[in-house]
Amino acid sequence: MAQYAVSAQDLTYRYGDLLAVDHISFDIPEGEVLGFLGPNGAGKSTTVKMLTGQLRPASGKAVLLGKDIAQNTNAVQAHIGVLFETTNLYEQMNAVENLTLFAQLFGVKNFNALTLLEKVGLGGREKERVANYSKGMKQRLMLARALINSPRVLFLDEPTDGLDPVSSQTVHALIREAAQNGTTVLLTTHDMVEADKLSNRVAFINKGKIVVLDTPAALKQAYGKRALRVEVQAANGATEIREVTLDADDTPQKLHDLFQNERVITVHSEEATLEDIFVKITGRGLHG
C-alpha cells in the first residue's frame, strides 16, 4: 500500500517562457480531501493535468498510488476518476449508454448503471438523451462517470460551478461519501465555502507555486483575527458594533461590561474566511 495516494514531487511545467507550475511538491494521504485553491491562471489545472497523466511534466514527477503516472499512465488511470470543469458527455447518447461506454473502457464487471444513476439523483431519466439534460443533471452524470470505477483517487474540477443549491448539495454528499469510503479527493475550486466544508486540508496556489497548505481551521487560526464582533442596541435604538479582542488581559472584564451595561443582540467570532486568508497571503483575489 502506498504511503500517499498522491505525491507531487517538484512538478514543473512551462508554456514557452511562462513557468506555469513552478516546482510544486505536496502529498495527499489516502482518504483525504485536499482543496486546491487559486485564481485563474495560477497553475491549478496544469498541475491536475500532470497528476492525471494528460500532460507530461517538464521536470519532477507525479506519483499516484505508488506509481509514476508518466511511466504507467494507463495502469494508474484505471484507478482514478476525473470530473472535468467543462461538460464533455456524449450528448446524443442517453445516461446509461454514456456510463456503460466508460465502464467497458475501465473493464468494470457486472456494472449496473441504474444504481449509479439513482445515487446521483438521475433515476428515471436514464433513457433521455443527455442533450436534453439541465446543467446540474449533466454535472451529476459526469460525477457518476468519474465514480464508475470506484476510483482510489478522484480529481474534481469545479464540481458545483453554476449548479443550483440542491444539485450542489447532492454533489457535496457524494464527495463526502467517496472520501468516507477511502477515496482520496483533489478538489479544485473557486468556491471557498465549498472548499472549507469539504476539505481536510487546503492548498493555495499562486503564480505556479503552493504558497500555503494546511487545514482550514489552522489557517483561520493563523491568519484570522482572534476577536469577537458584538452587535448591541444603543440607547437611541440604533445598532452598534463592538469588537472585543480575545487575547487581551481585560477581555473578560470587557465582555462582562458589555453584557452588563448594553443590550447585546448578536455575538460572532471574527473568523477569517479562506478567501480573506488567500488575499492576505497572496495580495490578490481568487477571481482575479
Binding site: 488511470q77 472535468f84 456524449y90 450528448e91 473502457l105
Partner: protein, 356 residues
C-alpha cells in the same frame, strides 16, 4: 494499443453513426450517385438488352424477335423513329429489315441487314443481340452466315460510356467519404465536444481512439466500395483480390482521415480543407472523366494508387502482378502517413490536454 478498448470504442462509433451526419452521408451518397448515374445513363434496370426494329416488309423474324424473353424488343413504325431511338440511347441496337428480306433469305441470296448501334452500348449487350440475330437467321449452328450486316454507329464516336467514365469517381467517392471524412469528422467532433479528453483519462489511450476511428473508416470505405462496384456491374472476376486492394485503399484513406482529424480544430475548418483539397483527392477520377487529356497526369496524385488498383482488378481483370508496383506505392504512402502520425502523436496529446 489495447484491442478490447479499440473494439469498445468502435462499437460506440457504430452506435453513434445513426445520429452522425457524415456517417450517414458516407453510406448514402455513393449509393445515390450510383443509382442516379445508372438511371440517367441507362444500364441500371436494363439487365435485358434493348433492341429496336423497323420492319419494312413484315419479316417472320420480327415476330420471333418480339417473342424472345432475353431481349427487350420494340418495333418502330418507320426508320426515322428507329434512328432517333438509337441516337438517344433508347435502344442499344436498331435493326432495319428491308422489304423482301425473308424471301431473299429463303432464296439463299445473303440479304443485307442494316444495324444501328448506340455509341455507348455495352459490348455484352451488342454481343447478345448479334448472337440472337445470327441464331434466328441461320438454319444450323455451323452454317455460314446467311445475312450481311451493314453496321452504322450513331451518337458520339466514343467507346467509353458515361457509366464507365463516372465509375472511378463514384468508387473514389465511396472510399474517400467513408475512409477520410468519417474518421476525420468523428475525431474533430470529439475534440470540439471535449469527449476525447474524457476518453484519454480512462485506461484507453489516444492511440486506441485513433485505431477505432481508422477501423470504422476502413469498414465503411471497403463496404461502400464493394457495394458501388456491385451496383455498377463492375465487380469483376477476382473477388478476393478486389476486396484486398479495396481494403488497402480504405486503410490509406482512413489513416489520412485520422491524420487530418488530428490536425484540424473544428468541423468548419475540416469542411473548408475538404472543399479546398477535394480537387486533389478526386483528381485521378476527374482525369479519367476526360479521356482526351493525357491519362498519366492521374499518377501524380496519391489517390491514383488507391483507385487504379481497384479499377484494374475489377474492370481490366488485372492480377496481383500487374498492380504490384501501384500497391507498393500505396503501402509506402500508408507507411509515411503512419510515421507522421507517430511523430506528431505526443504533440497531439499535449494539444488535447491543453485544450481541455
Amino acid at each position: 494499443m489495447n484491442p478490447r478498448h479499440i473494439f469498445v470504442l468502435l462499437g460506440k462509433e457504430i452506435r453513434q453513426g445513426k445520429t452522425n451526419f457524415f456517417f450517414i452521408y458516407a453510406l448514402l451518397m455513393p449509393l445515390i450517385l450510383s443509382l442516379l448515374v445508372a438511371l440517367v445513363f441507362g444500364d441500371l434496370f436494363s439487365e435485358t438488352p434493348r433492341l429496336g426494329i423497323y420492319d419494312a416488309g413484315q419479316s417472320a423474324i420480327t415476330a420471333r424477335l418480339l417473342a424472345t424473353d432475353h431481349l427487350e424488343v420494340t418495333a418502330y413504325a418507320n426508320e426515322a423513329a428507329l434512328r432517333e431511338a438509337v441516337q438517344r440511347g433508347g435502344v442499344m441496337v436498331g435493326v432495319i429489315f428491308p422489304t423482301g428480306f425473308d424471301a431473299a433469305l429463303a432464296a439463299g441470296e445473303q440479304p443485307s441487314l442494316t444495324t444501328l448501334y448506340w455509341s455507348e452500348s455495352l459490348a455484352k449487350d451488342i454481343a447478345i443481340i448479334n448472337s440472337t440475330l445470327d441464331q434466328l437467321t441461320m438454319p444450323t449452328t455451323n452454317a455460314p452466315p446467311l445475312i450481311t450486316l451493314n453496321v452504322v454507329q450513331l451518337g458520339e464516336a466514343s467507346n467509353i460510356s458515361w457509366t464507365e467514365r463516372l465509375l472511378p469517381m463514384i468508387v473514389l467517392m465511396a472510399i474517400i467519404l467513408g475512409g477520410v471524412m468519417v474518421p476525420a469528422a468523428s475525431l474533430v467532433d470529439e475534440k470540439q465536444k471535449r469527449t476525447l479528453s474524457a476518453l484519454t483519462t480512462t485506461p484507453a489511450s489516444l492511440l486506441d481512439v485513433y485505431a477505432a476511428k481508422a477501423l470504422l473508416g476502413v469498414g465503411i470505405s471497403t463496404l461502400m466500395g464493394l457495394v458501388v462496384l456491385v451496383i455498377n456491374n463492375a465487380f469483376g472476376g477476382q473477388p478476393a483480390l478486389l476486396v484486398m486492394v479495396l481494403a488497402l485503399g480504405a486503410v490509406a484513406a482512413s489513416v489520412f482521415g485520422v491524420l487530418l482529424g488530428s490536425f484540424v480544430k473544428d468541423i468548419n475548418v475540416l469542411l473548408a480543407v475538404i472543399k479546398a483539397g477535394g480537387l486533389l483527392l478526386f483528381a485521378p477520377a476527374l482525369v479519367q472523366l476526360v479521356p482526351d487529356i493525357p491519362q498519366w497526369i492521374a499518377q501524380v496524385f496519391p489517390t491514383y494508387y488507391v483507385l487504379n488498383p481497384v479499377l484494374a482488378v475489377s474492370q481490366r481483370n488485372a492480377g496481383l502482378g500487374d498492380i504490384a508496383g501501384e500497391l507498393a506505392v500505396l503501402l509506402a504512402l500508408i507507411g509515411a502517413m503512419v510515421l507522421i502520425l507517430v511523430l506528431i502523436f505526443e504533440r497531439q496529446q499535449k494539444r488535447l490536454a491543453l485544450a481541455s
